[in-house]
């Protein structure tokens, strides 16, 4: 997992652009309306997204249409599965600790009864 993938998405404007593109291909003007910052700002962020492999671009007459590429999202998905596994393991330990606690208490009860 490249830290860079997270850094690209950590920016709120870029995240907003990516969200807007989830519905499909969009033109720059369209994105400017949606994201509500000026065109140069949107273009700058689109360039970063393009350079890092998050989006594709194709000309359509005068317009340039942007769309998402799947690769970074697959990578993200794999990373998140790893994160989940880490927490599953923690909760396994939680379950083990819980059982130890119950056993210890049962023991104490028994000893008290003696």
């Amino acid at each position: 997992m490249h830290i860079e993938t997270f850094q690209v998405l950590a920016d709120p404007v870029r995240l907003h652009i990516v969200d807007a593109l989830r519905a499909g291909e969009r033109s720059v003007n369209d994105l400017v309306d949606t994201v509500d910052i000026d065109q140069s700002g949107v273009s700058r962020h689109l360039r970063i997204l393009y350079e890092r492999g998050f989006v594709d671009v194709r000309p359509d007459g005068q317009r340039r249409l942007y769309s998402l590429r799947p690769e970074p999202f697959h990578e993200l998905d794999a990373w998140i599965s790893g994160y989940r596994n880490l927490w599953e393991a923690r909760l396994d330990r939680f379950g083990d600790a819980l059982r130890r606690r119950q056993v210890a208490r049962a023991k104490r009860h028994k000893e008290r009864k003696k």
Binding site: I3, I80, R90, L98, R101
Partner: protein, 157 residues
């Protein structure tokens, strides 16, 4: 952006499950990635209450790994119970301030509890995107997780 929700159901009392999050000995009995233990310095189980513990690498491999990365083997860790409704819900916010060159940020864990007949259902919600950029402890945790899986696998076979 993406939350992870993990659900577990334990055959236990709600009091015991709650105690594992909100008492010193309970918290110490499970918290932290594999290869680490925690020593709780202060745990105030009330809304806005403080949580302070030392996270200590204690498995030899882990100690070695931390040294290799130039990290101390023990780190004083601070958090807050930003929300706490006894035996129902807690929100634990950690300050992640041990990453060289990374501005300290907050990491939030939500745990919710309910009784289902003689069992307790626990739902833990995490925010990995927020944590991702960032935490070498998590990277460490992830590595040790693989070790743990290996071990479990060989245990089962």
């Amino acid at each position: 952006m993406t939350n992870i929700t993990i659900e577990r159901t334990y055959k236990a009392s709600l009091a015991d499950v709650w105690a594992l999050w909100t008492t010193k000995d309970g918290f110490e009995s499970w918290w932290g990635p594999e290869g680490f233990r925690v020593d709780v310095r202060r745990l105030e189980a009330r809304p806005g209450g403080e949580l302070h513990y030392a996270m200590i690498a204690d498995a030899p491999q882990q100690v070695e790994a931390m040294k290799r990365m130039g990290q101390p083997v023990s780190h004083e860790t601070h958090g807050t119970f930003t929300e706490l409704r006894p035996r129902q819900r807690l929100v634990l916010t950690h300050v992640i301030d041990f990453l060289p060159g990374v501005t300290p940020y907050e990491s939030t864990i939500v745990a919710e509890f309910s009784e289902v007949e003689d069992r307790v259902r626990m739902v833990v919600t995490l925010h990995p995107m927020h944590d991702a950029a960032f935490s070498r402890m998590q990277v460490q945790g992830f590595t040790s997780q693989l070790t743990k899986l290996d071990r479990r696998f060989s245990f089962q076979s």
